[in-house]
Symmetry: C2
DNA sequence: ATGAAAGCGCTAACAC
DNA sequence: GTGTTAGCGCTTTCAT
């Protein structure tokens, strides 16, 4: 059984006794073909197991179609949801998706963009790791780029990269909601476990401060800590915080890694949740519901973000980022990890 | 600023004052070019922001390169790890990966295969949902297909689809290890929460039975239950089991959905873990460590499986599935959710 | 070492 | 309605 090469349009044309243009018309749906001819062509194609080559078509049309998707890490639950959303939308629209993970490394991200450009993808969706400089070139390389779930780091005020639209979760709204919830429970010494400066723009931290200010609760700088986005750093930050300030009654973690760290440290310190400390976090990952007590969290619509971004990149390549980022609503999922604050407490790590 | 079309090899040739063949040679590394000429070409290319079109190259070479990856669900932690592994390997080898999710639907899976074939990918890696019939055609459509992390359902004995290699976790070994561990703790009434018949071949269940038999522990049919792969079905199965048989001292869940259900049901029934029931599961997902007590689990090397599958599909398209599936070792991660059995117990769901 | 030319499989004008 | 033809951007003999 020799592995013969795939049938081409020419084979089908010959076998059906028609010209190749007719075959093309049948498969691309363009032009008009008589029903009889169409049937003959279809029959021949089926017999030959013919499948139009996206390569030939793409070359002629000078675009391969398809979109590129760059995330930091496909195993991160939020990224995975976002990927799933993009896949859903692309499938609906009949496009394929080339996925790659940049692991937060701008250089690797740049390489991926380069490869995607070589593939002549129709658009790129990215949760960017690099900064403005890294993406300035990329935007030129591909007709349409959209950022999803995250924007470029940089000064708070101005837009990120000119003309790159983005679709994001309303993090500020989510953080405000959970902060108000915590304050409403009676908390006054709320700690914020956030990401390091220099990383993505700290909209969560800013929203936290703003919410506190609005509620008339003074912000204690000592309670706002930042960690690098890694498990050990997150744990260290959480441990440092909870040991240093035995009087915090609630911890708001800015992402699921930080939330995990908070839960682990609380357990290590024999702090009961929520009796001794309330814990809440951004990102409603699967374990939030499984842990004991289940964790109150701000759910970001990762799937919707991906879907929307894909729509943007595929359907509206013209309209570029006009009107600022698309903000999708978050939802505060209240579970058992937050309660009213308790009298002063002071603990240190055992051992 | 007009969005002019990308530079072609012809533009570069003209700009560098050489023939297009020379430019081709420079970029494909084939043939020999004088250093001086190479530099001129490179300079011209840089100036024009030239990037070879994978389309043109692919058409000429009659293959687009790249590989297709089909999983049931990218948000499933195991699938995500597998995807990450494939991505790692493909990146190393300079190939791109088209990913799509079939959601366990054979029809959707077939469509995806069809699309990938149209893209003329160099190979396909799949965690298959369909059965032998569905894949018989696919294998013909693409020169190299490999199954990863799962094989086709079907009769236990014979190979699955002729000539389709596969790389799998050693599930049987993992289940045997955890079963022996449980038995070693003193458990005699161990329940098995598995997948429905008709789904993937029940190697876990078979391994469980075999291990029990080997240990001289009689298998009670009543303690071996199966659920459809969905949260509600898993929960129902776990609840039914634990209520019906208040005397089980340990539960072995065949995947993380089932494990989740077991944990939730145990909590609902006010069963202390591991004092009242020990719980262990296959799949060492993130929450296993976060839940209280942390769950003992069989870790499957999802990432390695993906990596290996990618190597197989890319490097050894010739050697097709000779010597049966590649089996990668699992690891029993012992945490706090299993302990010695306790005296008889009898509980029912409150309300 | 380098250039000219022939296609790879397809679509889009343009004839008929 | 249908066939013919000219490329799309590239690799690859085959000359030079």
């Amino acid at each position: 059984m020799t592995d013969r090469r795939p049938a081409t349009i020419k084979d089908v044309a010959a076998s059906a006794g028609v010209g190749i243009a007719t075959v093309s018309r049948v498969f691309s749906g363009t032009g008009s073909v008589s029903a009889a001819t169409r049937d003959r062509v279809l029959a021949a194609a089926r017999a030959l197991d013919y499948r139009p080559s996206a390569l030939g078509r793409g070359l002629k049309l000078r675009r391969s179609g398809g979109i590129g998707l760059i995330v930091p890490d496909v195993t991160d639950p939020f990224c995975a949801e976002l990927v799933a959303g993009v896949l859903d939308c692309a499938r609906t629209l009949g496009e394929h998706v080339i996925v790659d993970a940049a692991d937060g490394d701008p250089a690797r991200e740049a390489e991926i963009v380069e490869r995607l450009a070589g593939q002549r993808v129709g658009g790129i969706i990215a949760m960017p790791a690099g900064d403005e400089a890294d993406w300035r070139g990329a935007a030129r390389v591909c007709s349409s780029v959209v950022f999803a779930g995250r924007v470029l780091p940089g000064p708070p005020g101005p837009p990120d990269v000119p003309d790159v639209p983005s679709v994001l979760a309303d993090d500020a709204g989510g953080v405000r909601a959970v902060t108000e919830y915590l304050a409403g429970l009676g908390h006054r010494r709320i700690a914020f476990l956030g990401a390091v400066p220099g990383g993505p723009p700290r909209v969560r931290e800013r929203a936290f401060r703003a919410a506190l200010a609005e509620l008339g609760v003074p912000v204690e700088e000592d309670l706002v800590v930042a960690a690098r986005p890694a498990r050990d750093a997150a744990y260290a930050a959480a441990a440092g915080l909870l040991q240093r300030r035995g009087d915090v009654t609630a911890v708001l973690a800015a992402d699921h890694l930080l939330g995990e760290a908070a839960v682990l440290v609380a357990r290590e310190l024999d702090l009961r949740v929520p009796a001794d400390v309330s814990i809440a976090m951004v990102d409603d990952v699967a374990w939030a519901e499984l842990c004991d007590p289940p964790l109150t969290a701000v759910a970001r619509p990762g799937r919707d973000i991906g879907y929307r971004a894909c729509e943007l990149v595929l359907r509206e390549p013209a309209r570029r980022g006009r009107g600022g980022p698309v903000l999708l609503p978050t939802e505060l999922v209240v579970r058992g990890s937050c309660g009213p604050p308790r009298a002063q407490r002071r603990r240190t790590l055992a051992g």
